[in-house]
Subunit: 285 residues, 2 copies
């Protein structure tokens, strides 16, 4: 979904231009959004908090690797709200400088996680050496800048035109069930998103802590279950200063605009030690 | 607790000699256990699975950083059982070669996480540069081998005597609530641990999947809650091949030797899609 905003917005993301986060940025904020690459997730959150950017696109979980826990921690620390979610299928492409052919390749650069997701490609081509690099799109940037004649890079298709590379092989990843879920974040003080067109289901993300007594989490989950609200995810994170106690991040289908969800949040607030709604947004399909 | 085994056992752990995992090894398997350092967690699990080592000590969670998710994934893949748990307080020490004094130090090496846990020390000593290294104990090894005259390392107290270093400052970590929980693992075919002396409470760790219907996790947790069994931790991990579905790793106080816990596991087995008991062991204090 797009924000429908009339003026272009600057959207912070972690990585180089052409990263999968930039693909998410387009899905979340539309073609007019200006991608604003930054080196770390901390800097991405800061850029929105201090007004340098009006929004951020952050990965929150991947179907192979699990949650990006650092971003859950940042969601608690910063006063930003979740305004949208999207899924990006992680498709790895073999990219080389124009004029370099597949038979020329002696080495291929990429982020270690991307290299590890293309094992079949390397098994089928044992003469090609895999070399870890700090970033997927950054490895395309590097082989182009260095003008390497025997090297390729593995990255998103979006990275190729940005740096002038050519896609030699599409979709060389081992597992096609590789998706990353991204959030669009804005300051909580920003006006609400324009309502999406068509029928949408809403999802709400909350974070809460429970009293340190037996059955406390079970009772908190009853606030949702007894109202037939569908919990789609739960994630625990350590609670600072209280060893072996936890924060829970939870997603459920519903919006506080609806009676059942509103009552569930009220009920949960009675039982939880702390409760914060991080955002309500149209559920991605 | 110690295993009480009469012959020395080789215990695999990740890291260099003197790592915090080696401290855990001693707590878990006694002074007679022979520590067996390996570069990766994958290799640690393999060493026990293929019989090179009779046990492994692995970190599973830290009170500041959360779970070591990779090890949860290995627990599912390998047929090893959890036989004991222990907590290690992470105490960082400034170590230097003998003859090097505090005033001589221009740089200090350690793992990036350890450097980030001693920010106050570096703020108080702005002339000392922090330099990231691949391992805490490995940084002590390196400054000793290189015979550096202006460098120190941050590591466990155990690392100092192993490499001949001298502790210049004890306990320079910012946060004293920094504990890591470790498991002792053995093949499931190994004989049971000798019963511990004194009164102990048992803890059980399980992994399960739920049917993809609303309320499924809540119903599974009811098997424990309705029997007043105390769940001490829940962790979710992505389920391979089923995007946006999860495996749940759960700890609760109790042992299948006790009626309530045994019935709870039976009840859970009725409701879960898959259920495996990863181990029952005396709870650490």
């Amino acid at each position: 979904m797009t924000t429908g905003a009339s003026s272009p917005i600057q959207v912070a993301f972690q990585g180089e231009l052409g990263a999968f986060s930039q693909v998410a940025t387009r899905q979340l904020a539309g073609d007019e959004a200006v991608p604003f690459p930054l080196p770390t997730f901390q800097q991405v959150f800061e850029a929105v908090a201090n007004g340098t950017c009006s929004a951020a696109a952050i990965p929150i979980e991947n179907t192979l690797h699990g949650s990006i826990h650092e971003n859950y921690d940042h969601l608690l620390k910063f006063d930003l709200g979740i305004r949208a979610e999207t899924f990006v299928r992680i498709v790895h492409n073999l990219i080389a400088p124009p004029g370099v052919h597949f038979a020329d390749l002696k080495r291929v650069y990429s982020h270690p996680v991307a290299l590890a997701q293309c094992l079949k490609f390397f098994d089928d081509n044992p003469s090609i050496k895999r070399i870890p690099h700090y970033d997927t799109a950054g490895s395309v940037k590097m082989i182009m800048e260095e003008g390497l004649k025997d090297a390729g890079a593995i990255a998103s298709a979006a990275a190729a035109p940005i740096y002038g590379g050519k896609i030699l092989k599409k979709s060389i990843e081992d597992d096609r069930q590789n998706f990353t879920r991204f959030f669009l974040l804005r300051p909580n003080s920003a006006p609400p998103e324009p309502p999406p067109t068509g029928h949408v289901k809403y999802k709400t993300t909350i974070v809460f802590t429970v009293k340190n007594v037996p059955g406390a989490l079970f009772r908190c989950l009853s606030a949702l279950a007894l109202r037939d609200l569908d919990m789609t995810k739960i994630e625990s994170r350590p609670l600072r200063g209280k060893p072996w106690e936890y924060l829970f991040y939870l997603d459920f289908m519903g919006s506080p605009e609806e009676t059942a969800a509103r009552n569930a949040l009220g009920h949960l607030r009675e039982m939880a030690d702390m409760l914060r709604v991080l955002g309500t947004y149209p559920a991605a399909k």
